[in-house]
Assembly symmetry: D2
């Protein structure tokens, strides 16, 4: 029974409006019911994907769905593929509509999450805020200024549970109990998890890293832009951010530094839009010392990831495709040494919207809320 | 007027059968008429593309169309998109059907072209044979043995006119008048032409070259294989030949050695099948010395290619896509230095079936026959 | 060696091997455990999709996975997108490997299911067999002979729960408790459910029905055939079975007759392969009497389907797309009257592999086993 | 400033600037040189395609390229796939920039061509204006008002040379020498040419015509709209204008009336956007009298089209695909009678941008200018 599932306009008015519920009452009721989640940015791809995954999540209640330009529309008008059991009206993205929730997932353009989080926390210090945008990923204000050309709004807990850290712990430990989580960038997820074990093990020359990433169009967002039109994209492979300007570069380097303790890391990084909706295939190259073997690479990857439920290291000679991860919260890795060239090639496949964004957010949410980490997340993909 | 356009079965029997015409008669008549071309492998993609391009070529006559398993069918049954003005029956691929032509274009699996060429030449020493397969591209029998695992059948003139050579000449000079031309591999074309000027100019560390190539499915041929099915390919980026096993690697290194005179060249090379029919986007990375600029790269490319009709070096900040080259006999190049990483990225876009195969063949055919190099070749692509 | 691969990790290895368990023992143990399912044809698309859906089904155990030419391989080799929690070896498709299960799902070429079902039933009269193939869908041996050109093997319970019948019942009632279920054809599902209410209500001229169906390539199966290659399919719309030869025509007419009691039904039916992996968009036209309105059509559809969980009738002016049903067990319907032409247009969107095949099978399985009909089935699709 | 950018490299620079050349001088010089063409709307798909085709047209000179929002940019910035031998700056679309040409091709949103044409004709009564928009296609002001909801601006010569007319002539006769040509709509071209011979021959019930058209995305134009994004379109078949609202319906009916002299024609018409860039596959159904055969249909089509260079009637059992017409100025037709249903199915494949728009425009331009009708137009397509 769902007597008051939604705070949408259709909710019988005899219910106490959610948005005026005080923090004390909220906390008092928390133990007795499912955590209430608000998803902001529901008309975009990241927000929609969050809703898709949460619709199958048994441990939370989707209490509010908000959007910006689509506020006032029904969810079915902007995301007809999602069935929540009812059809909520999209709320305005305001502190009022978002207060009174246990979890707020922000899928907003960067620059907006900091203020909202502060306002919500002022009301309820226990609210969990997950930012799918970039605002709080970087530790270095200098990096932020160079790559995003705006003022840095601080650093939140980085939501990449599997990242092994130089001190022997794992990033997961920092997420448990956190109340402000910066969900990683999709490309950064693929490249960081592909490289971290190899850099940690000293198996690659980390000053000569290069990555080329065929990526799908959903990663470019849902705003109408000419170069994202089907007729432009179909039949074409289109590089962008060539020459080092991609904003995920400092994020990857930060991850690799934290994973390895090493300095002097350098990475060049070229995404290529290819005609598919979802998926990132990160192809990473790095020089290796003479004598390094494919088995060495696979051993290092397995050493760090053997216990990871959402990360698969493939056997020698097998490499992942993006088709086998669509819709699943997984990252699949393959690796080889090219003995002629003295370089390693590591390949990582993820669904940019799931393991790259919304699935990662839910995985971190589960950890932060004390739920089993994999709740509501699937390792099976939709293929063909 | 086309009194006897085709040697197909429908040709009135009062015509002297082409296949019994002696070499002497052939030579005697050569001056007075268009060169007669036979295209072998017409039911495959490379052969079909050769026909498509030749159908608009004013300087030759398509005299015979041959195939293997499709012999006996009409061309319209295997390539309904091609209109030659008539609908020839596909001939068996035999020395008999191929003799008596001025030009024979072989689009065959490797291993078959050497014998046919020898037999044809025994009849007519002036016949021009172009091999779209790999058999005669490599100079090194060792490389051949390692990458193709069969006996080397020798080396023909390499059909890449634009390749600058270490001695100051250009490969074009060797093609003029040649009678045995090995048409380059499609991936090798993109990577070789992207890198040759930079290696020649010493602008990159040629021992640390890496290339990742999103490629379209026509490059994998027309044979029915499960992994090439639409349902498998759609929505997926699928790497292959990871770890240095791709057969175009020794071909690229041979080209770069010939272009630069340098030794110690090393390249790792990863093609990724992406959901498009045509196109190769070669993304090439290489370390550069400190202080190297994007302008340096573009200057080196322009120095070698300024006079090349089918090769465009794009301005700084502009990079090519495969969508803008579909159907055109062009290669478009962009380059940038990533100063953070100390690496250069060079990007080359070609249509694998045109500049990568059939267009290159016709360009070399034109040179060999003494026709203007660009006859029948277009620099305008089909987009969107 | 994997002596007990197909029993999932939780099953104690002390269990007697499945294939030698007698029927009596099977029945005795049935109450105390989850029904054990065998899926046959796992390397094809229909079988793979059945596994994908069952992997999230809480009410059954996937006990055996079988295939034909892929027998002996691991599931991960033929379907790397599926994670069952273990990686079974694909069994040979024999009565031995299939006996001892509670449910057997057959995704086989037609002509093979009858014998297997008979042999299994001889051992265990309670085994539930679902045939994803066509063998047992048609009631008329004449129709079978004309369209399938082989001997008719009989008629099983037709697995389309939502089909309203002329006697006021619904096909669902016949599925409950059935032990032999013929899963409907995918195109037949879309067209039958789009038309049944309108034919029942006498709103359309049922002697002048026409349907054109843009369909995705997974519907053509996973066998390697040239016309199914990505390079052939991409950028092309390709009709087939033009002129009335499609085998789903008699199936649709049978459904409409059963739904309406009407005779004289006639339908022409043209599928068009379009470049997508999944999906059927059935566009159905039929003349309507003067004065018929769009509201009349929608009212008739809603009258029959208002209670159906997996069927949505869209509001006036809204029409479904296949993108909004990918992966979901839903059919979405829109309708309009074109007053100028005097024709109705009804549009149905389904995922051919889910509501069109594997989802429908599981829905019927649930009914037959007495589970809630929607167990393990999602109404939310994967988009974009 | 680029005083002579738009004259191609071969044009002597001593020519008086185009835009100030008086009409008298223009006429005087006309015999001695190639006709000068201005293409307006060059940054859109129809305008770009016109340029692509004209770049290979030996009988005219591309003198001016104009655009609206892209004015001031180089052609290479908006259409990098086109190589005119030089890189013109896009001019503003004004009477000033367009005057002084022999031919003006207008690829504009509807409502704008009438005024421009009138102004140009006031200067030079011999200027040939081709309107790729809809403004002047319809004869009936009532139809215009109903479907376009604006004031009718008159009727120009309809640019469909192959259309057979009830009086035994052909539409071609009216195009020869015309100076105002309304280029047909792309969908209207496919449906009209598929049906005209059958309606003329009385082989179909023309009051019960229905058409469903899988169409590619370039037909929806190049403006950035959310539903045209790659991520939205990929994997989806999306109907639009369901229920009779498509603006090409009155155009088709006008054509069929003119072809047959018949009244009471009725057509319902449903386009479906499918994931391809180019192409229309019109699938047309119509009831036929008992005893009508496929041979009857093919005979009627062949009777009307046997002499048509750009129209192919396929043999019985063969049907066209859009993949085999991409880039070619052809329409391919197949037909069958479904004897069970008593309906005919006719299938037409065209490239919407070529035979559906720009190719048709050039074909009419050739006729109007007295050039051979096929000048610059190819019957060979780009495939795969």
């Amino acid at each position: 029974m769902h007597p008051a599932v939604y705070t949408s306009g259709m909710t019988p008015s005899s219910d106490a409006p959610v948005s005026t519920a005080g923090a004390a009452a909220t906390r008092a009721g928390r133990a007795a019911r499912l955590p209430r989640v608000a998803v902001v940015g529901a008309s975009g791809y990241a927000g929609g994907e969050t809703l898709r995954l949460l619709s199958a999540h048994p441990g939370v209640e989707i209490a509010t769905v908000a959007a910006h330009s689509s506020a006032g529309k029904r969810l079915s008008e902007v995301a007809p593929h999602i069935d929540l059991g009812h059809d909520p009206v999209l709320q305005e993205t305001t502190v009022e509509t978002l207060s009174g929730h246990d979890v707020v997932v922000l899928a907003l353009p960067h620059g907006q999450s900091g203020q909202i989080a502060a306002a919500l926390r002022a009301e309820d210090p226990d609210v969990l805020v997950l930012d799918l945008g970039a605002d709080h990923r970087l530790e270095s204000a200098e990096d932020w200024a160079e790559y995003y050309r705006s003022e840095h709004s601080g650093t939140w807990t980085y939501g990449m549970p599997e990242l092994p850290l130089a001190d022997g712990t794992r990033q997961r430990d920092q997420i448990v109990g956190s109340r402000e989580i910066a969900v990683p960038g999709c490309n950064a997820t693929a490249v960081s998890l592909a490289l971290a074990p190899l850099v940690r093990a000293g198996l690659v020359d980390a000053s000569r890293l290069s990555a080329v990433l065929p990526v799908g169009y959903s990663g470019a967002g849902r705003s109408a832009k000419q170069h994202l039109l089907f007729a432009e994209a179909s039949g074409s492979a289109a590089p962008y951010a060539v020459g080092g300007s991609h904003r995920h570069v400092p994020e990857v380097l930060q991850n690799l530094r934290r994973a390895s303790g090493a300095e002097g890391l350098r990475l060049t990084f070229t995404p290529v839009l290819v005609p598919m909706s979802r998926g990132i295939l990160a192809v990473v190259n790095a020089p290796v010392p003479d004598g390094t073997t494919t088995a060495d690479l696979l051993a290092a990857l397995s050493a760090d990831y053997a216990e990871e439920r959402f990360l698969t290291v493939l056997p020698e000679g097998v490499f992942p495709t993006t088709g086998e991860v669509a819709g699943a919260n997984v990252i699949r890795l393959g690796a080889a040494v090219d003995r002629h060239s003295g370089q390693a090639t590591v390949i990582a496949a993820i669904d940019n919207l799931v393991k790259g964004t919304a699935g990662a957010a839910i995985q971190s949410m589960n950890l932060a809320l004390g739920l089993p980490e994999g709740t509501g997340l699937s390792r099976t993909a939709l293929a063909p």
